[in-house]
């Protein structure tokens, strides 16, 4: 398997390649069908709408108080013995983590799953400084071995099937070629166990940071999170500033929504609540715990009362699992850390609209993402908002606003507007078939590659209604 660099600028080419790859399409279709079914089945015994409403309100309340809650979190974490760090962007966060590692003379880092660390390209940064960073989440481990990036935020290696995984493990670690999943899992487990024991620093993400108690919550299934945060002498947790919640009691409903929405589980195998470094007399746990709070564009989203809703996200991936576009093209096609619908509304803030201009339009606005979002983010509305920003019709709050505006398209919409606000001209136009193409927003070339050309009817509804009225009157 060749190493490929995916970028959001190449969305169209990457989509073309993915659509032409039966392996990728089969892998995603099967995986997403399974995840959709699991989610649907598990919410049966819950009052889903009540729980979603609660989840959305918890997130909205936390965001409404975000600056205060972050200060409270800092104070309580420090009181618990957790060392606090603030990073304005990914580079600064990388430097902070590298310096913590270097202060301990660390040579090897073991990582639990963390999308923020993907967002800031932490592994590459540490490697440049001569520090090896190994992923310990099985999916992350596989994509790292395969020199790829995750294609999903919860299931990073979901684009791979059993045979491909067997090949990767065989080629990179010398295991036997097999389709025996238990064998492969056990082999990876063995390989990772040794690395947990020898790592100098463990780096993890955070699912919820509780301001009230200074608690870091970590949701996981494989135990890699627990190992990462307890075995090495130093634990560095890294998170976006939006992951803070106000109370410990807020966590239970969010956790219930997260696991059900993501993988259709009532609970995960592990749920870690981290309060402090190892205390006197305790037998395990790190000597130091650090929390790095990363902004990286989030506070600029926070300034806008519409876009703010993006920050409600609890990273369950349900919008990807249910998105008909994601299901067909897969996560790599988006070329961004966060793919799918949430990525299309989040990444423009991180990378700017110039780089990501094709993402907000890569949705049919079918609404499936908004329907399943456990915290009710109005993703379709935010996609439209970013389309507005891209053509210079928004508030101009997003980096690169207006980049997609072009004279041809503006002229097309202006002429459409003229027709649609001049009823006489409209009726004249609709009455004359064939002249209608001037009203179309764009050429129909791509349409007719796959479908027949829609034929304007001989008699428009306006004309039919006129005749209908006359018939009734006579």
């Amino acid at each position: 398997m060749s190493v490929e660099i995916y970028t959001p600028q190449a969305f169209h080419r990457q989509a073309h390649d993915a659509l032409g790859n039966p392996q990728i399409r089969g892998n995603f279709r099967k995986a997403m069908d399974g995840l959709m079914t699991k989610r649907r089945d598990i919410f049966n015994d819950w009052d889903l709408e009540t729980l979603r409403e609660l989840g959305a309100n918890i997130r909205l309340r936390a965001l409404a108080k975000l600056p205060d809650l972050l200060e409270q979190l800092e104070a309580n974490c420090q009181a618990n013995g957790i060392q606090m760090h603030w990073a304005e962007d990914g580079d600064q966060a990388c430097r902070i983590i590298r310096e913590i590692c270097q202060a301990r003379g660390a040579k090897s880092v073991i990582k639990g799953k963390s999308m923020v660390s993907e967002e800031m390209h932490l592994n590459a940064h540490l490697e440049e400084a001569g520090i090896e960073a190994l992923e310990s989440d099985l999916g992350e481990y596989l994509v790292q071995l395969n020199e790829q990036t995750p294609s999903h935020i919860i299931m990073p290696a979901i684009h791979l099937n059993t045979d491909e995984i067997s090949d990767i493990l065989h080629d990179k670690t010398g295991t036997e070629r097999t389709r025996d999943v238990d064998y492969m899992t056990a082999a990876a487990r063995q390989q990772l166990r040794e690395r947990f024991m020898s790592a100098d620093v463990g780096v993890s993400g955070v699912n919820f940071a509780v301001a009230e108690t200074g608690t870091l919550c970590l949701v996981e299934n494989e135990g890699n999170g627990r190992m990462t945060t307890t075995v090495p002498p130093v634990h560095i947790a890294v998170t976006g500033i939006e992951k803070v919640v106000e109370h410990l009691r807020d966590v239970a409903p969010l956790y219930a929504l997260l696991t059900r929405s993501a993988t259709g589980q009532h609970v995960t195998t592990y749920f870690n609540l981290i309060n402090s470094p190892r205390k006197r007399g305790e037998r395990d746990g790190p000597e130091e715990v650090h929390l790095v709070l990363v902004d990286n564009g989030r506070s600029s989203i926070y300034q806008d009362d519409e876009l703010l809703d993006t920050l409600r996200c609890i990273r369950c991936g349900a919008c990807m699992n249910h998105c008909p576009v994601y299901t067909r093209v897969g996560g790599h096609t988006y070329g961004t850390t966060y793919p799918g619908p949430i990525g299309s509304i989040l990444m423009p803030h991180m990378l700017g609209l110039e780089a990501t201009q094709d993402l907000p339009s890569a949705s049919s606005l079918c609404g499936a993402c908004g329907e399943v979002c456990p915290v009710k983010i109005p993703i379709p509305d935010l996609l439209v908002r970013l389309r507005k920003e891209a053509v210079g019709e928004g508030r101009g709050n997003v980096l690169g606003a207006g980049v997609k505006r072009n004279k041809k398209e503006v002229a097309a919409w202006k002429s459409w507007q003229w027709m649609a606000t001049h009823p006489g001209a409209w009726r004249g136009g609709t009455a004359i078939a064939g002249k209608l193409q001037v009203m179309m927003p764009a050429k129909l070339g791509p349409w007719t590659d796959y479908r027949t050309m829609p034929k304007p009817a001989k008699t428009s509804l306006h004309a039919l209604m006129k005749r209908h009225r006359q018939e009734k009157e006579s």
């Binding site: 067909r328 339009s361 079918c366 609404g367 791509p446 479908r451 009817a457 509804l461």
Partner: protein, 251 residues
């Protein structure tokens, strides 16, 4: 979850908003919708100056153009009668997005008032007319595609099937992934033609796999997309707007 909506008693008069796709490509569907309403004893008023609800520009981000067009449509419904729209996506635009589109403008109150009177055709036939149908057609199986806007934006996944269930000789067949988008999405089909094509291909396969030779939908965008794909492949499956289907089988 279906939004809670209180429905009015059957009125004497309604406005009919044809939508631009019906006007241009499927005018018979519009007329059949009007006939179904008239058969219920309702007088149907068709405002002559109607053109387009503004949705294509709105979802493409061209809000000023969308607003200008939508503003011209707001003036067409001066009387307090219900406004019936034979399309979930135009209905969704007018009911859900008009208030946001006009927020903070002089037309805000008007937009909200109009939005409150918007009914999608199948919704109106089921919940307001309590339509009963006498099926005069031959027995057949039919698939239904409910548009995403009708399903999710308007919460109307049930009204189309409910009408088909009133046809005694028609069996509604179940297709795989019925709730999945057909890939039209207005300008999406033009901006991302390959992804859109993959979506409509799966949709036509799912419909074909039911063994039916006919599908109905209440949205002309989906009809154009799915029907156009069947036609391009020279498959014998025919698509029809649900209004035409209901009228044809009961008149």
């Amino acid at each position: 979850m279906t939004p809670v909506k209180l429905y009015p008693p059957k009125p004497e008069k309604v406005y009919f908003y044809g939508t631009c796709l019906v006007d241009i490509f499927f005018p018979e569907a519009g007329l059949d919708g009007v006939r179904l309403l008239e058969r219920e004893g309702i007088e149907v008023v068709f405002p002559e100056d109607q053109t387009c609800c503004g949705q294509p520009a709105y979802t493409s981000g061209y809000e000023s153009e969308a607003r200008a067009v939508a503003e011209s449509q707001l003036a067409l419904f001066p009387e307090p009668w219900p406004i019936v729209v034979p399309s979930g996506s135009c209905g969704g635009m007018m009911r859900t997005h008009y208030p946001a589109l006009f927020a903070g403008t002089n037309s805000e109150v008007r937009a909200m008032e109009v939005a409150g009177r918007i009914f999608e055709l199948t919704e109106f036939l089921v919940h307001v007319c309590h339509l009963q149908l006498e099926d005069r057609g031959a027995p057949e199986k039919v698939a239904m595609h409910t548009s995403c806007s009708a399903r999710r934006e308007m919460g109307l996944a049930e009204t189309g099937p409910a009408l088909l269930a009133k046809l005694g000789h028609v069996e509604l067949v179940e297709q795989a992934r019925a709730a999945e988008c057909c890939g039209f999405g207005g300008t999406f089909a033009v901006r991302h033609p390959e992804v859109s094509a993959a979506m409509v291909e799966d949709k036509t396969q799912a419909i074909e796999a039911t063994g039916t030779k006919r599908f109905v939908t209440s949205d002309c965008g989906c009809l154009m997309n799915i029907g156009g794909r069947f036609e391009h492949q020279e498959k014998p499956v025919q698509g029809e707007h649900i209004a035409s289907y209901l009228w044809r089988r009961t008149s």
